[in-house]
């Protein structure tokens, strides 16, 4: 948003001059930006506007095409700026901080437990698979070799579905039938 830096400071100033330098307290994003040294080519030069024309957010300009366009741009850019939209910084008391930390640590514990359980389950599945393959190798070499063939790359079917929070309208297609096989093309 290099275009916006010098632009914001000039454009998004309130109409009435305020006594306080930073009326929004914490998080005045426009002042947080470093002043730009380069002049971008697509800035709108407001200084050339005649009279007391000033652009403020949310207004509709009665002027011609150019000023209307500029006003629209101001409106759009004001959405990205946190100016006067950011709420107060959360300041927790000591007890509140303790509560927050406890909740966070409890959550971390839950997540860690889940991760460990999943890891253990996968490990068990893997060793089960390995044992099966070892037994197959002992039993039959040919079956083992055919079992070791892997498609490269692995292809997943189109019907593969990720679980959602709530089920679809038709939960299960019970009346699925395999598609009719295409007739073989006659060779010329």
């Amino acid at each position: 948003m290099i275009v916006a830096q010098g632009f914001f400071r000039h454009i998004l100033r309130p109409r009435t001059p305020s006594i306080f330098a930073n009326s929004s307290g914490f998080g005045d994003a426009s002042s947080a930006f470093a002043p730009s040294t380069t002049v971008p080519q697509t800035t709108i030069d407001v200084k050339n506007c005649t009279g007391t024309l000033m652009f403020t957010r949310g207004k509709r300009s009665r002027g011609g095409g150019e000023t209307q366009q500029k006003q629209k741009m101001v409106n759009m850019l004001s959405l990205i700026s946190p100016r006067r939209k950011q709420p107060r910084r959360i300041k927790l008391s000591y007890e509140d901080l303790l509560r927050h930390r406890t909740v966070h640590r409890a959550w971390q514990l839950v997540v860690r437990t889940k991760r460990q359980e999943r890891r253990l389950e996968l490990q068990k599945q893997y060793f089960k698979m390995k044992h099966a393959c070892d037994e197959l190798r002992k039993t039959s070499q040919i079956l083992y070799q055919s079992a070791m063939e892997k498609p490269s790359p692995i292809r997943f079917p189109m019907e593969y579905r990720i679980p959602t929070v709530t089920p679809p309208r038709r939960i299960w297609n019970a009346t699925w039938k395999p598609p009719a096989e295409e007739k073989k093309r006659k060779t010329l």
Partner: protein, 320 residues
């Protein structure tokens, strides 16, 4: 005391048992070679597996090789949240609402429009007096900066509504996660327990150990995959959209026959392949020997199946 993990030393009797391998009684091509190695392995546990696994020494068939199928229906719905998870997610969303920027009403409801007038009329009064604090209220753009903002959307203006705007207001009614099959406990339904993986279990006409995963003998010239595909058609019919996860077996189970039951084989070795069903129904086919079937979760399978079988299969299944 004999150390069980250390193989006992090789004796002359053990070497004699290897004898039948020298004189092949080849009945069925390559497959008998496979089972022969199994024979040698079972009779003398001393021989290292590498010597046996060469697989080129045929002998009398002792173990029936079977290919089994672990057919499962993946969860359709996300896992159930625990009360703590629910509370934590609620806490996080409240924090986010508190830290959210003020709603830019001048953009969505421009000044001077009818929509803006309707919007402003519906918004709650924000004067900062609901918070008992010593600081003076900090209200910017009709939002108290010390707390989260409540934005009330105006009701539908039915008079001015067009077809397109009516679509926007169309209510999304989420379906229930608990289905009819859940309430009726229909174990044959695939719409039961949407948040869990369901595995197919079939019941054979047997007094004991009837419930099992489907399995079939690997015939001459067939691979495990080929047998599994044939098994699926023979037991459940063609109306199932399935996908084999891999050619590699996921589980292995071996059981010994009683000597009076089967003269040809000493037992069976089943190699299970994992497969997933995406659509269709399992319909028990005539001549498959299947009396009943059920789609069960992992913990339910434990109660249907006998202990030795459960010990073999449990680790290959997924808990969720």
């Amino acid at each position: 005391m004999a150390l069980r993990h250390v193989p006992r030393p090789l004796r002359s009797q053990d070497i004699r048992l290897v004898g039948p391998l020298a004189r092949p009684t080849c009945r069925q091509g390559h497959r008998s070679m496979g089972t022969a190695t199994a024979t040698a392995e079972t009779e003398s546990s001393v021989l290292p597996s590498t010597a046996v696994s060469v697989g080129d020494s045929p002998a009398s068939v002792a173990f029936k090789i079977m290919s089994g199928l672990i057919l499962c229906r993946q969860p359709i719905v996300t896992p159930e949240l625990t009360p703590f998870e629910r509370a934590y997610y609620n806490y996080q969303s409240e924090l986010q609402k508190r830290l959210m920027w003020t709603f830019p009403r001048w953009f969505y409801y421009p000044e001077g429009t009818l929509a803006e007038r309707q919007f402003s009329a519906v918004q709650p009064v924000v004067d900062g007096k609901d918070r008992a604090e010593f600081e003076k209220p900090d209200i910017v753009f009709n939002r108290d900066r010390r707390s989260k903002q409540e934005v009330v959307l105006p009701e539908r203006d039915v008079e001015r509504e067009t077809e397109e705007s009516a679509k926007i207001y169309a209510k999304i009614e989420p379906r229930s996660r608990i289905t009819e099959a859940d309430t009726k406990d229909d174990f044959r339904s695939l719409e039961r327990k949407l948040d869990r993986t369901l595995y197919l279990l079939v019941k054979k006409d047997r007094r004991e150990n009837a419930w099992k995963f489907p399995a079939a003998e690997v015939l001459d010239g067939e691979t495990l995959t080929g047998t599994a595909a044939r098994l699926l058609l023979e037991t459940g019919g063609p109306n199932m959209n399935t996908w084999l996860v891999s050619n590699t077996p996921a589980a292995y189970h071996r059981y010994d026959y009683k000597p009076e039951d089967n003269e040809k084989y000493e037992g069976a070795k089943i190699f299970y392949l994992k497969s997933r069903i995406f659509a269709g129904t399992f319909i028990p086919q005539k001549g498959s020997g299947i009396v009943d079937y059920a789609w069960l979760t992992k913990d339910e399978i434990q109660h249907y199946v006998h202990r030795g079988y459960w010990a073999s299969m449990a680790n290959a299944l997924s808990r969720q």
